[in-house]
Symmetry: C3
Subunit: 363 residues, 3 copies
């Protein structure tokens, strides 16, 4: 069963609005290790949802509202048979069907709550919202091999943003901000970032931005993690998809080897960035950071994660300040500069999908 | 002088709305011991009110707004003659008449603030709002003999709820939730509560729910308070009235004596629950809990109160979570189960009274 | 460049509303010492503004929004050339012109942010908003010689008020509240204040209130600061101007000399009170307090400032409580008393200027 997430569908037949988000997509609902022995409340694409792990190890997602008296099911407890409401004890299975009303023989046929389609893959739990036209997934969720690659160590977390998800896309697609926002960590010299050679490609559903910074001073995170001998040849490869971005960055000793070869050596940071709208104005940001330290692997990984956390905290401050200001000033005009190419293409992809979802939905 | 509490009376002559609450009723305004040497600010039925005890020991209630520059009178100080505003010193008597403007000979005739009808009885301070048609009380406030019965020791408190008052009625009228919400205190085995024998009666203004749980394991609060020898025969008797509920619970050793006799022995907990709307979405919950410990009276009473506080804290968490969720989901349908009978009858009584108050008011 | 601050100008051509505030005025934007090596964010007359001190020591004010991606410029950093945005590094000069886009040859012509007119004088930074008809100042900002008078020591601060600015005017223009709000500090006996001899004068843009309290008991602040021998002859002289008030208070030993002579001796407190609307419902209150202690100057000044802070804290509590109550009760009627004369005249001046600004604006 799906739940409409189009914010005001049907309110005005003469002026249909865009879907708030592309809905026929897999979005990140949770990192696998978040679902243990307790239900988890999380609003995704405007819908309050309870996520939980069943006794058989599978994952499930229901509307977070008991159909009896509306208590959040996330206030309940997990049992062998499913999730039991914390008010009057109704028990629901993974499909949202009530299978027990304590003290009552018959379970009313209407006693059910909407269920969502989940898939757990490569340590990521994906959710499909779908539209009335496409309630079931039309594709498989993305795989993410890095989480299963023994060469890499990783950790991750989820951040809550008081900002719409596209502002996070903008930030991740334009790494020129590193020189101003992240001086203390992965930034390094501002001029290097702004003058990096940049190549942007895109198709119907993705955008790629590749930046090379040759013979540049390695930033603090890099020198802390890897025994560079001096300047480095550095790359930043960003892949934008509707619901997540992959950012491959790294460096080799300057001039030591080509940096566009798949088998390049040196120091790598492989970031996964799942950006899921919570509401139209707030977001969940799921991230993992993987790295390939040659020696002292756990120590270096810990240092990389520590620096990554600092970096993402800095981004959060800037993006939330940006959004507060956008709300204050409303639809004031903006001026584009050279670094906006990737972010603007991503915005056009989302704009197109929102209108496609809108057209498809009412049929 | 009365103050209209109908939220949008008169705004739309073609579509009269229900009164927000039944207004021709006595509601609890305060517990007697709350009114000492300082004025008390409290919003009741949507009206900000200052409650205070006069020099002669009587209680008074005024609109909480100085008629000069609108400072809350509750920011002022009590004097022999009444309540003095904390900004420019205007002095008001218990009827809301300004009796002194410092530095000015004449007190303007318009210098008065609306007063409310209060009655103090059995340690409870009751307020009558009334309607334009019934500004004066049409009956006496309820008496509550338990507060004056030497056999009983009691304490009480007032809780603020971010939830409408009828959700508290629902909770108190359906004690089947004890097995899920109050496992740690008065709950005990969930199955016992859900399968209790239940009898519901009602008339025009009240609902009675009686539940018997024979030969059941006594819950933690009971064994802590009374020397039961094993299983118990347990009763729960709930009386709903518009503005308050009485809940008599208790137990005797299983099979030792009939539990529907007025003179039954054993362990008793007698709860008074005054539920007064603060606004349409928030409430005051005034409670006292009385008990009749056979020995170590003060210790047992302290233990009962401690457990009662824990229990009521648990209810508050659940009810406020329920209401937050109801606001999120709006008017989604609910499914009724067997335990809802009492609560549903109470809702019909209030619905009827709201429409009666509405019909009477404009005349 | 000016920015319209009329809240809904143009939305309804048939029913023009008043300007929210008189706009063709100098308002206090900052105390001079607030602008050092960091930009300062402050909303003034509804407009979010970044204030900063340039490398040459002059002060500047820009709209607090980068024209690229809307980050508050107050999140940026000060450089030799101006203010650099903290997201992508655009550099703006004191006139709001972008003079550098990192990594890009050409600066787009549209890359500019609105600038405001500032003047720094006598340790006060004044801002001129203006209207479309009067974008440039039509007069010089007020001078305030006390800040440069060696006879006086002073300190000051800025308070944020959750209340509209005119409630602060009311408070400062009617010092009869001293006896009820400020008993602990500058108040003293309430009767003295209420029965003080009061003289009110006014013209098109100012109001003067003079109060004399002869042969009265000096309040705690006074006796702490000056060696009075017994009762005092005390004065309070209040000058209201659109954007600020001057309050001269003080006392001499009772009967020792006339208190209306400019060269009078005794103990003086000279207060500057800049009241600048932040929004229509919130305010900035800039104050300095100067005094002329005959001996132990620094100690006495510290004591006077300490008492002043206590006093202003008391006012803030009362005024914010008053405004919360006004919002709760809406447009309920009020009753005037004798002490309201000065405050009512100030309100009429502001009302008139708001309508003048409105008439001028559309032309």
């Amino acid at each position: 069963m799906t739940v409409s997430i189009v914010s005001d569908r049907g309110q005005s037949p003469v002026a249909p609005t865009l879907a708030a988000f592309p809905v026929n997509q897999w979005y990140v609902a949770a990192l696998a290790w978040e679902l243990k022995d307790k239900p988890l409340a999380r609003t995704l694409l405007g819908n309050p949802i309870v996520l939980f792990r069943c006794a058989d190890g599978s994952v499930a997602a229901l509307q977070d509202r008991c159909c009896h008296r509306a208590l959040p099911l996330s206030n309940g407890t997990l049992e062998q048979g499913g999730l039991r409401c914390g008010y009057h004890g109704l028990l629901f299975n993974a499909q949202g069907k009530c299978i027990e009303v304590p003290g009552q023989e018959r379970v009313p046929g209407k006693a059910l709550v909407p269920a969502y389609v989940l898939r757990e893959q490569d340590q990521i739990v994906w959710i499909w919202h779908g539209s009335e036209a496409n309630p079931q997934p039309t594709c498989e969720p993305p795989s993410y091999a890095v989480h299963n690659d023994e060469q890499y160590l990783f950790e991750g977390d989820v951040y809550h943003y008081d900002a719409p998800y596209q502002l996070i896309h903008d930030n991740l697609l334009d790494l020129s901000h590193l020189g101003y926002v992240h001086l203390r960590t992965i930034g390094g010299n501002a001029r290097i970032h702004m003058h990096a050679e940049m190549k942007v490609d895109s198709d119907e559903t993705s955008v790629t931005v590749v930046r090379h910074m040759l013979d540049s001073v390695p930033p603090p995170t890099y020198t802390a993690a890897y025994p560079f001998t001096g300047n480095v040849d550095r790359w930043q490869e960003i892949e934008f998809h509707i619901s997540h971005l992959l950012i491959w960055t790294g460096a080799v000793d300057a001039g030591s080897e080509p940096i566009d070869a798949p088998e390049r050596g040196g120091f790598h940071m492989r970031g996964f960035h799942g950006v899921t709208p919570e509401t139209e104005t707030t977001s969940h940001y799921f991230w993992t950071m993987a790295t390939n330290p040659p020696t002292n692997a756990q120590d270096v990984k810990a240092k990389v994660i520590e620096q990554t956390v600092l970096t993402f905290d800095e981004d959060k401050v800037v993006i939330e300040a940006q959004y507060r200001n956008m709300r204050q000033f409303g639809q004031a005009p903006t001026v584009d500069i050279h670094v906006d190419v990737g972010a603007n293409r991503a915005r056009r992809i989302i704009e197109r999908l929102r209108s496609v979802d809108q057209v498809v939905s009412p049929e």
